[in-house]
C-alpha cells in the first residue's frame, strides 16, 4: 500500500555520509552498481555503454561541488542516493501500491511486478533519487542493499550496504538512525549531521556530516606580493624593439 505505515517499531535504517572525508573516488557508486545489477532490482540496465550517449540506471551518483570563494572555498564531493525519507512523497503519489515504505525498518522500495512505469514517483522526489529503467519499463531505486544487510549467507561483517563496505575512506556509515544510542546517531549528534532540503518536508532519514572547518594555518599568513614586472621594455630603437618582440614570443 502506498499509504505510509502508521505503526513502526521505531527502527529507521539509513546512511550517514561524511562530506569531510569523501574523496570523490566513485567507488561507492561502482560497487553499488556491481552488487545491485544482480540484486533485488536487477538488472540496472545500461544502454549504449560504448556509444556516443551512454546512459543507464545507477542508485548512487557522486557529484562534486565548489562552495565559497578564495581561501575559505572548498571542493566537496557529494554522494547522492535515496534518503529513505520518513515522509516520502514518492510513496504516497504511487497510484498502484508498487512503491512502499517498510514497516519494520523504514526502507523505501519498489515492487517491480506491480510498477506501471508512470514515473510520477520520480517527479515527487526532490532529490532525484529514483531512476527509470527504459528497458524494463519500471522505476528503480536504492534498496539499502536489503539483499546484503539481511543476507544470512554472508558473514556478519559483510552485512552492510555495498557502498558502505567498499568506501576506502570510511566516509559512509550504516545503521539505525531511530535509535539515539546507535553509532550512527552518536556520529550525527557529535558532528552536527543535517538533512538535505528540509524545506521540502520529506524528513530524510539519511544524514550528511558537514566538512570540518579548515585547519590550514598557512592560509592565515598573507601571500607575498607578486613579482614586479618591468613597466616597459622600450629600448629606444625600433629595430631593437622588434628583436625584443621576436625573442620574447
Amino acid at each position: 500500500m502506498t499509504s505510509l505505515p502508521t505503526a513502526t517499531d521505531g527502527r529507521k535504517l539509513g546512511l550517514v555520509i561524511d562530506l569531510d572525508i569523501c574523496v570523490g573516488c566513485h567507488a561507492c557508486a561502482v560497487n553499488c552498481k556491481e552488487w545491485n545489477t544482480g540484486g533485488h532490482s536487477a538488472p540496472l540496465t545500461d544502454e549504449e555503454p560504448y556509444g556516443a550517449d551512454p546512459h543507464g540506471v545507477w542508485f548512487n551518483r557522486v557529484h562534486s561541488f565548489e562552495a565559497g570563494d578564495g581561501d575559505s572555498g572548498r571542493t566537496v564531493h557529494f554522494p547522492r542516493s535515496c534518503l529513505h525519507c520518513e515522509e516520502p512523497a514518492c510513496v504516497t503519489v504511487c497510484p498502484t501500491g508498487a512503491s512502499y515504505k517498510r514497516e519494520g525498518d523504514g526502507i523505501v522500495l519498489v515492487n517491480a511486478d506491480t510498477c506501471i512505469g508512470c514515473k510520477l514517483c520520480s517527479w515527487a522526489c526532490p532529490y532525484g533519487a529514483r531512476e527509470y529503467d527504459y528497458a524494463d519499463g519500471v522505476m528503480k531505486k536504492c534498496t539499502l542493499c536489503i539483499d546484503r544487510i539481511e543476507n544470512q549467507h554472508l558473514p556478519p561483517e559483510d552485512r552492510l550496504p555495498a557502498c558502505v563496505s567498499t568506501c576506502p575512506a570510511s566516509a559512509r556509515h550504516f545503521g539505525d538512525l531511530g535509535d539515539p544510542n546507535s553509532d550512527v546517531s552518536q556520529l550525527v549528534a557529535e558532528r552536527g549531521g543535517y538533512d538535505l532540503m528540509p524545506e521540502m518536508g520529506m524528513q530524510p532519514v539519511n544524514k550528511y556530516l558537514p566538512p570540518r572547518a579548515s585547519t590550514r594555518h598557512d592560509l592565515e599568513t598573507p601571500a607575498p606580493p607578486p613579482e614586479t614586472i618591468p613597466a616597459s621594455t622600450d629600448t629606444g630603437s625600433d629595430f631593437l624593439n622588434w628583436v625584443d618582440r621576436m625573442l620574447t614570443r
Binding site: 500500500m1 502506498t2 499509504s3 505510509l4 566513485h26 557508486a29 550517449d53 551512454p54 546512459h55 543507464g56 545507477w58 551518483r61 557522486v62 557529484h63 562534486s64 561541488f65 565548489e66 562552495a67 565559497g68 570563494d69 572548498r74 566537496v76 557529494f78 547522492r80 512523497a89 510513496v91 504516497t92 503519489v93 504511487c94 497510484p95 498502484t96 501500491g97 508498487a98 506491480t114 510498477c115 506501471i116 512505469g117 508512470c118 510520477l120 520520480s122 517527479w123 515527487a124 522526489c125 526532490p126 532529490y127 532525484g128 531512476e131 527509470y132 529503467d133 527504459y134 524494463d136 519499463g137 543535517y194 538533512d195 532540503m197 528540509p198 524545506e199 521540502m200 558537514p210 566538512p211
Partner: protein
C-alpha cells in the same frame, strides 16, 4: 520538466471534453440549449472521444500499459489514482445522460440527476488532474494554490468553445452564449497571467545551498557532474526552456488562445448562421492552439528540485 506530448494531449483533450459536458448539462437544464437528440449526441460523442483518447494517450507513456488497471487501487493516498477512478466513474452518469437525451426527453428526473452528477464528477476529475501537479512539492511552480483553479478554468473555457463549435452546426449560436464563452475564456487567461506573475515573483523555495547543506561555506556551484552524458533524472526533470523563448511563447499563447479566441466568439455571436458557424470553428482552432502552448509551457517552465544537483542555483 520534460513536456511529454502524451500528457499534454491528455490534460488538454480531457479538459475540453469534461468542460463541454458540464456546459451541455447546465445549458440544457436552464433550457437555453434546445437539447435535440442530434445536438446532445454530437456533444457527448465528441467529448467522450476526446476524454477516451486522452486517457488512452496517457497510458502510452507508461512503461507497462498492460498494468494500468493497477493505478485504480491507491485512491487513499495518490491523486493520480483518484483521477483514474474519477475518470472511470464519470463515464456512468455521462452515458445515462446520453441515453436520456438521445431516446427520451432529457428533462425527466432520472436524466436530470444523471446530468448533474456527470457535470459534478467531470469537475472533480479535472480537479484531480490539477492536484496531481499541485501536490508535488519538489516542483515549486506547480505546488501553488492557483494550479487547480487554472485546470478547471481552462477546462470550462475550452469546453465552452468546443460546445459552441459543435452546436453552431445545428442551430444558430445565440449571441449571449458566445459572448459568455468569450468572457470565460478571457477570465481563464487573466487567471493564467496572475499565475505567471506569481511564479515570476516567487522567492526560491530551495537552493543549491540547501540541497547540499554547504551554504555555511559560501555560494555552492557544480564543479563536476557525476556522469558525462544525460541520465534519466536530467532528461525527465532537467528540461528547461530559455527565459526569452518562454516570454515569447507566453505572448503567443495569450494572443491566440485568449484574445483571438474571444474575438472570434464575439463575431460568432454577431453574425448570421453560416458565418457564425465559421467563426465558431475558427475560435475552436485558436483555443486549441492556445491551450496546447499553455500546457507545453506549464511543463517546460517548471523546474524540479533535483536540477539543483545538476547546476541549477535555485528552484
Amino acid at each position: 520538466m520534460n513536456p511529454a506530448y502524451s500528457v499534454i494531449f491528455f490534460t488538454t483533450a480531457s479538459g475540453a471534453g469534461y468542460g463541454a459536458i458540464v456546459w451541455l448539462v447546465v445549458l440544457a437544464l436552464l433550457g437555453i440549449v434546445p437539447l435535440t437528440p442530434a445536438l446532445g449526441a454530437s456533444v457527448i460523442i465528441v467529448s467522450l472521444a476526446l476524454i477516451t483518447a486522452g486517457l488512452l494517450s496517457s497510458t502510452f507513456h507508461l512503461g507497462h500499459p498492460e498494468r494500468a488497471w493497477r493505478a485504480l487501487s491507491q485512491w487513499r493516498s495518490s491523486w493520480l489514482s483518484r483521477e483514474g477512478v474519477a475518470a472511470l466513474v464519470t463515464y456512468v452518469p455521462i452515458l445515462i445522460f446520453a441515453v436520456g437525451s438521445l431516446f427520451f426527453s432529457a428533462y425527466g428526473p432520472v436524466w436530470i440527476w444523471a446530468g448533474l452528477i456527470a457535470a459534478m464528477l467531470s469537475l472533480v476529475t479535472v480537479g484531480c488532474t490539477g492536484m496531481i501537479y499541485a501536490s508535488l512539492r519538489a516542483i515549486p511552480r506547480w505546488s501553488t494554490p492557483l494550479v487547480v483553479p487554472l485546470y478547471i478554468a481552462f477546462a470550462m473555457s475550452t469546453g465552452a468553445v468546443l460546445l459552441i463549435a459543435i452546436a453552431s452546426l445545428f442551430w444558430p449560436t445565440p449571441g449571449l452564449i458566445a459572448w459568455c464563452a468569450a468572457v470565460i475564456t478571457l477570465a481563464a487567461w487573466m487567471l493564467k497571467i496572475a499565475y505567471w506573475r506569481q511564479i515570476d515573483n516567487a522567492k526560491p523555495v530551495a537552493t543549491a545551498e540547501s540541497a547540499t547543506g554547504l551554504g555555511a561555506i559560501g555560494t555552492v556551484r557544480l564543479l563536476e557532474s557525476p556522469h558525462s552524458s544525460e541520465n534519466y533524472v536530467m532528461r525527465e526533470m532537467g528540461y528547461t526552456i530559455a527565459r526569452k523563448h518562454a516570454a515569447r511563447l507566453r505572448k503567443i499563447a495569450l494572443v491566440v488562445g485568449g484574445v483571438a479566441t474571444a474575438l472570434a466568439l464575439v463575431i460568432a455571436g454577431l453574425l448570421p448562421a453560416p458565418f457564425a458557424t465559421a467563426a465558431s470553428i475558427v475560435a475552436l482552432i485558436f483555443a486549441a492552439m492556445g491551450i496546447l502552448i499553455e500546457r507545453w509551457l506549464f511543463f517546460a517552465e517548471a523546474r524540479h528540485a533535483a536540477s539543483l544537483y545538476y547546476g541549477a542555483s535555485e528552484v
